[in-house]
Amino acid sequence: MKVLYFAWLRERIGLSAEDVETSAETIKELVHELSSRAPRYEAAFSDLSAVRCALDQNLVPFDTPLGDAREVAFFPPMTGG
C-alpha cells in the first residue's frame, strides 16, 4: 500500500511517500512494523499522541483495520485555516 508522510513526519522520516508491503492488520501494527525498520521511523513515531492518521483520506483512529485500503497517511495535528 501507499504510505504518505506530511510536515515534520515527512522531514524526520525523509520521505513524502513510499510503497509498503505489509501483513499488518491495523494502522497501529503498520506503525510498529515501520518503527522497527530504522531509527528515523522510530523517532517519528515515538509519541503517537502527536501523530494523526488517515486511511484512504479519512481521518481515523490508530486501531482501525487496514482492510483493503490503498493509502495510509501520517501527519501531525492539522493547522489549517
Binding site: A54, A73, P77, G81
Partner: protein, 147 residues
C-alpha cells in the same frame, strides 16, 4: 458549494462580490478571511503551507456539506491556499449565504473551527531565527466542542 485548494493568490473582494450576486435572494452573507500574520517580534519571513492533495478537497467538502445540512444555508464557499506566503498575504477565506444572519454567522464560524483542526494543512514559519512547524492549539481543538 464551492471548494478550491490552490497555490495562486485570489481576490477576496471579487470572490465575495460574485458570491453575493449569485445569492442575492438570500439576505445575509457572512465571510471570514485569514491573513498571514507576522509574529510579535516581526521576524516572520515566510509561512509555508503544506497540504495533503486530494484529502484537503475531500475533508473540506465534507465539512461544507455538513454545514449546509445543519444550518439553513443557501450556499458556502471555501478557498484555501498552499505554498509559500509572505506576511500580509491572504491564506484562505470562507463565505456563507443564508436567509437569516444567525445561520450565516454560525455556519462561517463552524467552518473556520473545523478548518483549523480538521483540514489537512500544516504551517511552517520561517523566521530570522529559524524554521518552526506551527503547533496545533488546544483552544482550536476545544472550539469544536461547541458544535
Amino acid at each position: 458549494m464551492y471548494v478550491k485548494i490552490q497555490e495562486a493568490a485570489f481576490d477576496v473582494g471579487a470572490q465575495i462580490n460574485a458570491f453575493s450576486q449569485r445569492h442575492s435572494k438570500m439576505g445575509a452573507i457572512a465571510t471570514f478571511t485569514g491573513i498571514v500574520r507576522d509574529n510579535d517580534d516581526e521576524t516572520l519571513k515566510a509561512m509555508e503551507i503544506e497540504h495533503y492533495p486530494g484529502m484537503a478537497e475531500k475533508a473540506i467538502s465534507e465539512i461544507v456539506q455538513s454545514a449546509v445540512e445543519r444550518w439553513s444555508l443557501g450556499d458556502a464557499l471555501v478557498i484555501h491556499r498552499f505554498g509559500t506566503l509572505a506576511p500580509g498575504e491572504i491564506i484562505m477565506m470562507v463565505a456563507t449565504a443564508a436567509v437569516h444572519r444567525k445561520d450565516a454567522f454560525e455556519a462561517a464560524e463552524f467552518l473556520m473551527d473545523y478548518l483549523k483542526s480538521r483540514a489537512p494543512f500544516w504551517k511552517k514559519e520561517i523566521t530570522k531565527e529559524g524554521v518552526t512547524w506551527v503547533p496545533s492549539k488546544q483552544n482550536d481543538e476545544d472550539a469544536l466542542d461547541r458544535w
